[in-house]
Symmetry: C2
Subunit: 305 residues, 2 copies
Amino acid sequence: MDEAAPFFGGIEAGGTKWVCAVADAEGDLLATEVIPTTTPETTIGAAMRFFEDRQPIAALGIGTFGPVDVRPGSPTYGHILATPKPGWADVDVVSPFRAALGVPVGLDTDVNAAALGEWRRGAGAGLGTLAYITVGTGIGMGAVVNGGLVHGLLHPEFGHIRIPHDLERDPFEGSCPFHGDCLEGLASGAAMRRRWGRPAEHLDDPSVWELEAEYVALAVMNLTYALSPERIVVGGGVAKRPALLPAVRARLLTLTAGYPGAPVPVGPAAMEEYVTGPFLGDRSGVAGAVELARAAVAAPNSPRF
Amino acid sequence: MDEAAPFFGGIEAGGTKWVCAVADAEGDLLATEVIPTTTPETTIGAAMRFFEDRQPIAALGIGTFGPVDVRPGSPTYGHILATPKPGWADVDVVSPFRAALGVPVGLDTDVNAAALGEWRRGAGAGLGTLAYITVGTGIGMGAVVNGGLVHGLLHPEFGHIRIPHDLERDPFEGSCPFHGDCLEGLASGAAMRRRWGRPAEHLDDPSVWELEAEYVALAVMNLTYALSPERIVVGGGVAKRPALLPAVRARLLTLTAGYPGAPVPVGPAAMEEYVTGPFLGDRSGVAGAVELARAAVAAPNSPRF
């Protein structure tokens, strides 16, 4: 191995845990560490120690929970925006690392990072477009379109789209503090815990998972018709329930009703290719964060992929 | 003017009418003609005569109603796919022009062309991302993301997303032959005509337009959270009703509830900038088709923008 080849750092800065990694020049992960997300000081401090112990790295990439200001040139670039997470609103997750490590820092959302990781090294390898939905404590979506991650005024906040909510079948009013029964308010892990009184991993009633499959299928349907991605990866803790994705695929076939015909999946085999779990398991986000670091070295003045 | 500068042709091939235009090298429209959409033979023939009378053009761009196969290299590239429009399924809208005119032909959907036209010459000039929703006989959406139009397995079919449908307020079952009460099934001109028994332009009851504003606002909300575009242009015949866009903007402010805070529009002034009518009026689509022609000359082997 070339001793001079650079190493890269990546952080998947999630709302529950931070996954830190150092990777080689090809982006292969060499060391990882999982840090629980507590206060900004403690969490950022622990991540900092991980990278200080593994100097030098050529750049760092951060995929963070959001909403986060990812607009290059904005005065609050790198700051977490309005989050219900106590203590984290307005926290700058970029500057401390840039100051302490003295390297370029790439930034995006955790879900955009996961989409990038899967696109470069997993379920999206060779594809032109890829979307990644996480169904965990919250719901989010990231996507690669035309060779870059999706941004605009800010970044996608797909968990907050509105979907049909049949109040007779599901009288739960929704858990989103902003929208009540948006997608995240109906189908996130937090919503499941509120509706059923127990966390998703302790829920085994088939009707619970039928309802969850309905909402996730509606999300995948809307994403299909909005973005026409070549593949949709569904990750996150709630999506680890083995029965969920098969139920989502089956329901999606019924919901889309074959429209507009092939090339959109119209049969079970094509659907199995179309809606998949993450090929990188729990490492999509941090692998994408490392890709953000590699991109930050290539274009330090436009630190987005 | 430079006599040697090339001219370009563009067609907005809509389901109701085709708008043909010839433009100069800068993309400024020199001549336009509107042809009613009848049978493929008659409509394509009339468009052909328009361009044959205005030879030579360096390239032609076509933005067509869909679904249409826009995948370069596909055996059915340029063919209209499953359309309820009698006589048009499987019609090849590209080859006849390429054969008769002997020039490169660029192709996309009518709404992607409209998004491109507005991005290059209208509401999106200077922006990084732009989405265009048409609310006419049908509902469609096109968008520019990362410097290109959005494609994947096919192209967006945003009219077919599912949105909340309050059956007490609106017992209409929806007009979409595939999905019933998808967005297009609830809010398109065709849906309005079916629900109320008269075409949209003859409907003046304020409650009709309150309901329409609700559905269009839900569409704009979902597009906002899916794509985070910098601006959303709402065009199409139904959207010409002067009261509609102001009502959509007001409703959108309530629906989004300020989430996730600025930079997403949180007040009326920002909202007025965010949701606009087409700056090019009825010419967004054909102006974008001309841009497709210009791009086809630049990259004849990858005839998409």
